[in-house]
């Protein structure tokens, strides 16, 4: 495995993000950085990294690319229950439960670092700040999951899609994947439909409604938000749940 400078900068990104959740000690950063660089892996788009029912014995930290957590019903209906963005980890501590309750799939080519359970446990035992940072991540995930519940249960199609775009934008911003008012949107409308609980057809019409009202431009897999505040208004978006910034 070769260690490019780009890999190193991706690892930096992970550490910076965790550091926002909990300030990390110098040793914590160093040992995490080492563990990440040691476990680098690549995956193509559209692969299942883990499937519902699988036992888990490692933690994966995403360095680049988009993934999603999803669940399926017997008859094929699928619900994406969350996205996973660069800097986030897939299933820290998931090994505390016997098996996965959901699946994780790549939506783009992905670079990630795999840390075996024993290694992860010794890392977090040695650095309390690291352990807390990963736990904070789990808690924030929990909060996002709750926000998705009200999104799916109580928002209209237009509000749901607007809300999803706001959330994606706000989650990509702190990891430097937002350029002024636009970001990549490397997923199909089918995926967006599965994330918002809509049919593809209706998702498409809803996106066009957002386009027609001038709030967004979505073309060539690039999302441009013309007026973020206005988009948040139509989404009834309240950002507190992301906990992107620490209480000072």
């Amino acid at each position: 495995m070769s260690l490019s400078t780009s890999d190193r900068s991706l690892v930096e990104l992970v550490i910076r993000r965790l550091n926002v959740l909990r300030p990390l000690s110098t040793e914590a950063r160093a040992s995490l950085e080492y563990a990440l660089l040691e476990g680098l892996e690549h995956a193509g788009a559209g692969e299942d990294l883990i499937s519902e029912g699988d036992p888990v014995d490692s933690v994966r930290v995403v360095l680049s690319g988009w993934l999603c957590r999803y669940k399926s019903l017997e008859d094929g209906r699928r619900q994406i229950v969350n996205f996973i963005f660069p800097g986030e980890s897939c299933d820290s501590h998931a090994f505390l439960l016997p098996v996965m309750d959901h699946s994780i799939a790549t939506m783009t080519p992905v670079v990630y670092a795999e840390i075996k359970r024993a290694r992860f446990e010794s890392l977090t035992r040695d650095a309390r700040s690291l352990a807390e940072a990963f736990w904070c991540e789990t808690l924030v995930n929990n909060a996002i999951q709750r926000e998705w519940a009200i999104n799916l249960g109580r928002r209209t199609a237009l509000e749901r899609v607007a809300h999803l775009f706001c959330e994606i934008f706000e989650r990509l911003r702190p990891v430097g994947m937002v350029d002024a008012n636009s970001c990549v949107m490397p997923v199909t409308q089918m995926d967006l439909a599965d994330a918002t609980g809509l049919s593809v057809v209706h998702l498409n019409r809803t996106v066009q409604e957002l386009r027609a009202s001038g709030l967004i431009v979505l073309r060539d897999r690039i999302l441009t938000i013309n007026d973020l505040d206005a988009l948040k208004d139509t989404a009834l978006y309240s950002p507190s749940y992301l906990q992107l910034y620490r209480r000072s």
Copy 2:
């Protein structure tokens, strides 16, 4: 505060439940039992224990009664994102994040134990098994939240309500609140509507559909499930997410 024998048996229930998630050492049980008995509190029905935006500095463990986590939109639309049943804790570790992202309300009169943050942290520091048990609880909650996402996003009204009834029944069983094939259902149809993302009117019609098909009886706040397997079939219910039983 008086310590009745009934309080003691409720505390036993909490410990038994945590013990299913992680085997607890004798000392862990003893110190937790002590902390719980020391922090007993009561609340009436329909009270907000914590509201979105509040800082948290304690953990509440529910000894009896039903609560719910919910989120609201500006215009009053409300989504119940989860229930909290006896034996479960409200927000263990929530103090790791600055403020609550959702509110917690009592749906019935409730008995709970409040453990201050410092106390909780020393408890879990001294007993690793206890810490892991509480973390497991958080992880299971996460899994439940994901199941609710697919419930709200991809199931029909009939499936949603059937699924909710299955889940409630299965979560109440291990804490001894199920009697043969029936359990209490001490909430209004308005609450059930807010939990399933339906209007009250349509929830009512859906419940009647379940009644008409002979699957359930719901009367006088008692839910009787005539054929649990059949109900699970109509709900497309797959129980693994509750992780009620440990891998041996």
